[in-house]
């Protein structure tokens, strides 16, 4: 039985409620799925013109799905905690009959014939789809002036970048346009927009959530995962979407128990390794590092044991990630790049074209390095008895939009890359606000299949630091 934290059920407040609260109100009959859906539709109509998070809406379908959820509630046939909850998908997840652009003008009329595995799972859980969210072009683009669709804007400061590539998800959550969203993460594309927009997100263990029907950027590094306003909501969503999928080669036969029942408000017995060399890496600001250290103080109070550890250089993870990602991305898109380069935005064009200049030796070297770096990471965790690693989720404040570099990951290390290389579960957790009043965040990463421990610690931290939560009015 879900006991909501919040007693607000007025129309104005519905859009501010968490998935947890909405689910509790649906279960008790205090709210109808159709009421909730209509409230979020009104919120989207009010906010989307300013923040441009949604590329495509599916309101008629949403109203019908909500009506079906209400029917199940009346018949006491609710499918579980997600039944009747509105969601939106990054526009890289295929949705049967609903346009899926992957942020590309070349795909303006692309209407998939089948659903992605994630949307299949959400439908089975009774979720209500509100629409498709802005996604940087081919999941590797950025805020280029020549992109095909309106670029979502960071509600904390519209001059600053939202982070990508799950940009629309970060913005829609931060502005209360949707309580739950699905992103994807190849080098940080869930965690970076979550951090820059001040929301929560987890990149699950590699293979835990099926990639079928998620347009690939780099199959060996891609992860599908949830974003929400709290880590508890992420846990509820992860429980709904994970599972072995024999129809996709990267899907893991090993699966885990539901993560939500394991959430608690303390961290007794949890051992966290503060990765000092990541936190002190080139480009990490003092403010970002301090926010992470303050978070560790909170974890200590919550009962966790903290150890300081060091992993291989962040640059080693970054270059292995960049080489694999860019080479695989170019292999996927080479025909488009050879035949339709003029229809691809300038920033994406330059990022993915780089993949044409790798040699087979480069790619194999990066894959070998991936194996070594992964072994070293988990060996260190085992030797020190670590359940989790902790380090900043971002180098510093989001850059101004016109200062986003095409090759930023070659100028400073990518602090989200290690968990893509190792396949570890990795959450972005809010850590307050910077002097510029921008959200800050740290990462918690776990051992493979330790998603439950990551989310449990993130939830305990959020319960202890509710003041970091902020939905834009």
């Amino acid at each position: 039985m879900i006991a909501p934290d919040n007693d607000k059920t007025g129309q104005d407040e519905i859009s501010h409620l968490s998935v947890w609260d909405l689910s509790g109100f649906l279960e008790s009959g205090q709210l109808l799925a159709s009421e909730i859906t209509e409230a979020f539709i009104r919120r989207i109509e009010e906010k989307n013109p300013s923040y441009q998070a949604f590329l495509t809406t599916s309101f008629d379908q949403a109203i019908e799905l909500a009506r079906q959820a209400d029917d199940r509630q009346v018949k006491k046939q609710r499918r579980g905690p997600i039944d009747g909850i509105p969601v939106a998908l990054k526009d890289a997840y295929d949705t049967r009959g609903l346009r899926t652009t992957v942020g590309s003008g070349l795909f303006a009329d692309r209407v998939p014939a089948a659903d992605s595995a994630v949307w299949e799972k959400l439908q089975e859980s009774g979720a209500v789809l509100l629409g498709k969210l802005d996604c940087t072009e081919f999941c590797l683009g950025g805020p280029s002036p020549d992109v095909a669709y309106p670029t979502s804007l960071n509600p904390h400061d519209t001059r600053r970048y939202t982070g990508g590539s799950s940009s629309g998800a970060g913005v829609a959550l931060a502005t209360g346009m949707v309580p739950a969203a699905m992103g994807s993460d190849t080098g940080g594309s869930i965690r970076i927009p979550a951090a820059f927009c001040g929301v929560a997100g987890i990149k699950p263990t590699y293979g835990l959530v099926s990639l079928r029907g998620l347009f690939p950027l780099s199959g060996s590094l891609d992860h599908a995962g949830p974003m929400a306003r709290t880590s508890r909501d992420c846990a509820m969503l992860l429980d709904a979407i994970m599972g072995y999928d024999p129809a996709h080669p990267s899907s893991s036969k090993k699966q885990i128990a539901a993560t939500t029942p394991g959430l608690s408000e303390n961290c007794q017995g949890v051992v966290i390794g503060y990765v000092s060399n990541f936190s002190e890496a080139e480009g990490v600001t003092e403010e970002s590092r301090t926010a992470c250290l303050r978070a560790l103080d909170v974890f200590s109070v919550l009962g966790a044991k903290i150890k300081h550890v060091s992993l291989p250089s962040l640059w080693d993870f970054t270059i292995a990630n960049t080489t694999i990602m860019t080479a695989e991305a170019y292999a996927i898109h080479k025909d488009r790049f050879r035949n339709n380069l003029d229809k691809i935005s300038n920033l994406t064009r330059h990022r993915i074209s780089l993949g044409a200049f790798f040699t087979a030796e480069d790619y194999i070297k990066a894959q070998k390095a991936r194996r070594v770096l992964t072994s070293q990471t988990y060996q260190l965790m085992a030797e020190h008895g670590l359940d989790l690693l902790c380090y900043p989720a971002m180098l510093g404040d989001p850059p101004e939009i016109d200062k986003v570099s095409p090759y930023y990951y070659l100028e400073a290390p990518l602090i989200t890359a290690p968990a893509n290389i190792t396949g570890a579960p990795a959450a972005a957790v809010r850590a307050g606000f910077s002097a510029a009043n921008m959200p800050m965040a740290f990462q918690l990463t776990g051992r493979l299949y330790g998603d439950g421990k990551v989310l449990a610690a993130a939830h305990a931290f959020e319960m202890a630091t509710a003041e970091f939560s902020k939905i834009m009015e």
Binding site: D316, F337, R349, H350, S353, A356, K365, K368, P406
Partner: protein, 67 residues
């Protein structure tokens, strides 16, 4: 000159650009060239951890196909 140091001569670069099949007139060649150079420099870092004859990338797992 950095070109020789990176083992990426102008001739090699032109050859790679041609082989890529890309219309290089639609790209900022200097930006891509500089990024390639930077990447090659960074890739050298991986030699110390991965460039041994005995290391394997480990991409094939028999049990994955033992259905």
């Amino acid at each position: 000159m950095a070109l020789e140091k990176m083992n990426l001569s102008q001739k090699n670069w032109e050859s790679m650009a041609e082989q890529s099949g890309l219309d290089m007139t639609q790209l900022d060649q200097e930006a891509i060239f500089m990024a390639c150079q930077r990447l090659r420099h960074l890739l050298e870092r991986l030699d110390k951890i991965a460039d041994t004859e005995t290391e394997v990338a480990g991409v094939f797992q028999s049990q994955d196909y033992d259905i």
